[in-house]
C-alpha cells in the first residue's frame, strides 16, 4: 500500500500504474467489452474490393485483412500477452531466484558450477536462441512462454547471486549460524525474505521484456499462432499490407509500446521505493 502511495506522487510512475491496471482490466473483461468476436470474419468488415476498413464508428479501430474487428482482436490479444508475461516471467524469476540463491549461498563445486553456467548463458545470444527454439518447436502459446522463460532467467540469477553473496557475509546470518540454524532455515527464513523486493522489481520489469519478446517472435511468425490473437501476430498477419492499411501495424505497435513502457515505469519506480540504496541513481 505504501508502494502505491509513493508511486502516485511521481507522474511517470502514476501513468505507468494506470496503464497497467487498464490493460489488466481490459484483458479480463475482454468478452464483455469486445463489440465483436475476435475470430469473426465479417462480410461488412471489408470493402467491396476486399480491403480492410479504416477506423470508423462501426469498427472503432478498423478491420484487418480478413474483415475481423481490430479492437476486439487487440482486447483478446491483451490476454495472450499478459498470460505469457505472467507465466514466462514467473518461471524466469523463479529459476533465476533458485539458481542465484544456490550459487551465492553454496561454496565449492556446486555453487561454482552454477555460476559458471550462468556466465555461459550470459554469453548466449538470447534473442537468437529464442528465435531458433520457437521456430523449431511446434509454436503454441505455452511453448512461447517456455522459450521466453528459458532465456530470461539469466539476468535475475546474476543479480540474486550478487545480493545473496552480500547477505551471506552479514553478521545476522553469522549469528544465526552460530546458534545452530540449518541451511534450510537460513535460506528460507533469513535470505529469501531479503530477496523479495528484487523478485518483485524483476517480476515487473521482466513483463515488459516478455511482452516485447512475445511480440517479436509472433511478428516473425514463430510465436503465438493465428487465429489466437496476439499483438505480435496481428502485425505479422498484416505487415505486407502496411502501406495500404498502416493502422493494422501501428495501432498494435503503439499498444505494445505503451504496455511495455508502463511495466518498465512501474518496475523502475518499485525499484526506487523498495530499495532505498538505489534511490536517486541513474
Amino acid at each position: 500500500m505504501q508502494a502505491v502511495k509513493a508511486m502516485v506522487r511521481q507522474p511517470a510512475a502514476l501513468f505507468g500504474l494506470i496503464v497497467v491496471v487498464l490493460v489488466v482490466v481490459l484483458a479480463i473483461a475482454a468478452p464483455l467489452i469486445a463489440p465483436y468476436s475476435p475470430d469473426e470474419q465479417m462480410f461488412d468488415g471489408l470493402t467491396l474490393e476486399g480491403a480492410p476498413l479504416p477506423p470508423s464508428a462501426q469498427f472503432l479501430l478498423g478491420t484487418d485483412t480478413l474483415g475481423r474487428d481490430l479492437f476486439s482482436r487487440l482486447l483478446y490479444g491483451a490476454r495472450t500477452s499478459l498470460v505469457i508475461g505472467l507465466v514466462a516471467n514467473g518461471i524466469a524469476v523463479t529459476i533465476g531466484l533458485l539458481i542465484g540463491i544456490l550459487s551465492g549461498y553454496m561454496r565449492g563445486i556446486v555453487g561454482g558450477a552454477l555460476m559458471r553456467f550462468t556466465d555461459l548463458m550470459m554469453a548466449f545470444p538470447a534473442l537468437l536462441l529464442a528465435i531458433v527454439l520457437a521456430a523449431l518447436l511446434r509454436p503454441s502459446l505455452w511453448i512461447v512462454a517456455m522459450v521466453i522463460a528459458l532465456v530470461n532467467w539469466v539476468q535475475v540469477a546474476r543479480i540474486v547471486y550478487t545480493e545473496t553473496r552480500g547477505l551471506v557475509e552479514r553478521d545476522f546470518i553469522l549469528a544465526e549460524r552460530s546458534l545452530g540454524a540449518g541451511h534450510g532455515r537460513i535460506l528460507f527464513h533469513h535470505i529469501l525474505p531479503h530477496l523479495i523486493p528484487t523478485a518483485i522489481v524483476w517480476g515487473t520489469l521482466g513483463i515488459a521484456t516478455t511482452v516485447l519478446l512475445e511480440a517479436t517472435l509472433s511478428f516473425l511468425g514463430i510465436g503465438v499462432q493465428p487465429p489466437t490473437p496476439s499483438w505480435g501476430n496481428i502485425i505479422f498477419e498484416s505487415q505486407s499490407y502496411f502501406q495500404a492499411a498502416p493502422w493494422l501495424v501501428f495501432i498494435p505497435g503503439a499498444v505494445i509500446l505503451l504496455t511495455a513502457l508502463s511495466f518498465n515505469l512501474v518496475g523502475d519506480a518499485l525499484r526506487d521505493i523498495l530499495d532505498p540504496t538505489q534511490r536517486g541513481r541513474g
Binding site: P125, L127, L129, L137, A208, F242, A260, D268
Partner: protein
C-alpha cells in the same frame, strides 16, 4: 596484464565451447528433422534414411558432436545442408554487411546519446533532462520491428527519401541504422548524463569556472572526456546485444547480413548454419566485453593505476 589477458582468452575459449555444446544438444534434441526437411514431403523413408547417413545424422549424438568439435578446432564450421557449401565461407560473405549496420547503428547511438546526455546534465531538471529520462524508457520499451516499420512508412513510403529495403548504397543503411540507434540512444544518454553530473560537481571543474573559461570549453574540453568512460563499456555490451538482435532488423529491411542468413537457415532447419551464426554471435558478445575491459585502462589512466 599479460597473464590476465591469457586468462580471459582461455575463459573465452571455454565459454564458446560451452555455447557450442548447448546449442548442439538443443538443436539435435528438437523434433525438427533436417533429413526430412531436405528430402521434401513426398520422399520415401529410404531417401530420408540415405540423406541421414550422408549427413552423418545416423551416428550417435556424442560422435556427431566430437566430429563437429574436431572441425571447429581446425576452423571448420561444417557444411550447410541446404546450400551444400562451407558455413564459414557463407558467414564470412555475410558478415561485412552486418558489421556495417552495427557500426552505423552504434555511431547513431553514441552521437545522439552523448549529445542528449550532455544537454540533460547541463540543464539538469529542465525540459531536455526530463525528455531524455522519459525517452530512454520509451527506447527500451519500443518493439524494434514496429520502429522499423514506422521509419519505413514515414521515410520510405510517404516521403520516399530512402529505399524500402536492400543493400548497396549509403542511403540503404540510414533507416536500419536509425532503427537501432534511436532506440538505443536513450540509455547512452542516461549514462552520459549521470557521469557528467558527477564530473561537473568536481573541484577541477569549479577551478576551471573560476579561471573564467567559457562554459563550452569547460563542458567539452574538461568535463566530457572524463564522463565518456561508461560509454566504452556500453559499446562493448552493445556489440553483443546487437549480434543477438540482428535477425529482426535484417528481416524487416531485407539486409543481407548474418541475421538474414540465420533466419533462412532456421526455416530450412539448416543446423550447421544455425550453429555457426550462434557461435559467431556468442563470440561477438564475449569479444565485446573483452574489448571494453582492454580499452578502458588505455583510455583512462586512473584504471591503469589500480
Amino acid at each position: 596484464m599479460a597473464f590476465l589477458l591469457l586468462r580471459r582468452l582461455v575463459q573465452t575459449a571455454l565459454i564458446l565451447l560451452g555455447v557450442a555444446a548447448i546449442t548442439f544438444l538443443l538443436l539435435y534434441a528438437l523434433p525438427a528433422d533436417p533429413a526430412r526437411m531436405i528430402a521434401g514431403r513426398s520422399a520415401t523413408a529410404q531417401t530420408v534414411a540415405n540423406i541421414r547417413r550422408e549427413l552423418g545424422l545416423d551416428q550417435p549424438l556424442l560422435v556427431q558432436f566430437w566430429t563437429y568439435l574436431q572441425g571447429l578446432f581446425q576452423g571448420d564450421l561444417g557444411r550447410s545442408y541446404a546450400q551444400k557449401t562451407d558455413v564459414g565461407a557463407l558467414i564470412a560473405a555475410r558478415l561485412p554487411a552486418t558489421l556495417i549496420l552495427m557500426a552505423a547503428g552504434i555511431a547513431v547511438e553514441v552521437v545522439l546519446g552523448v549529445f542528449l546526455g550532455v544537454l540533460a546534465a547541463v540543464r539538469r531538471g529542465g525540459f531536455v533532462d526530463r525528455f531524455v529520462m522519459m525517452a530512454s524508457f520509451v527506447g527500451v520499451s519500443a518493439p524494434q520491428f514496429v520502429a522499423a516499420l514506422l521509419l519505413l512508412y514515414v521515410f520510405a513510403v510517404t516521403l520516399a527519401w530512402f529505399p524500402m529495403s536492400g543493400f548497396g548504397t549509403p542511403a540503404h543503411v540510414v533507416l536500419p541504422a536509425l532503427t537501432l540507434g534511436v532506440l538505443g540512444a536513450g540509455w547512452y544518454a542516461r549514462m552520459v548524463r549521470s557521469a557528467m553530473i558527477d564530473v561537473l560537481n568536481q573541484d577541477y571543474v569549479r577551478t576551471a569556472r573560476a579561471k573564467g573559461l567559457s562554459s563550452a570549453r569547460i563542458i567539452f574540453r574538461h568535463a566530457l572526456p572524463n564522463a565518456l568512460l561508461p560509454i566504452i563499456a556500453m559499446i562493448g555490451i552493445d556489440i553483443g546485444q546487437f549480434m543477438s538482435g540482428v535477425v529482426v532488423v535484417e528481416a524487416v529491411y531485407g539486409w543481407p547480413g548474418i541475421g538474414q542468413l540465420a533466419w533462412q537457415a532456421i526455416q530450412q532447419v539448416d543446423i550447421p548454419i544455425i550453429m555457426g551464426v550462434t557461435l559467431v554471435s556468442a563470440l561477438a558478445i564475449v569479444l565485446g566485453n573483452l574489448l571494453a575491459d582492454i580499452l578502458a585502462p588505455l583510455v583512462d589512466p586512473r584504471i591503469r593505476a589500480r
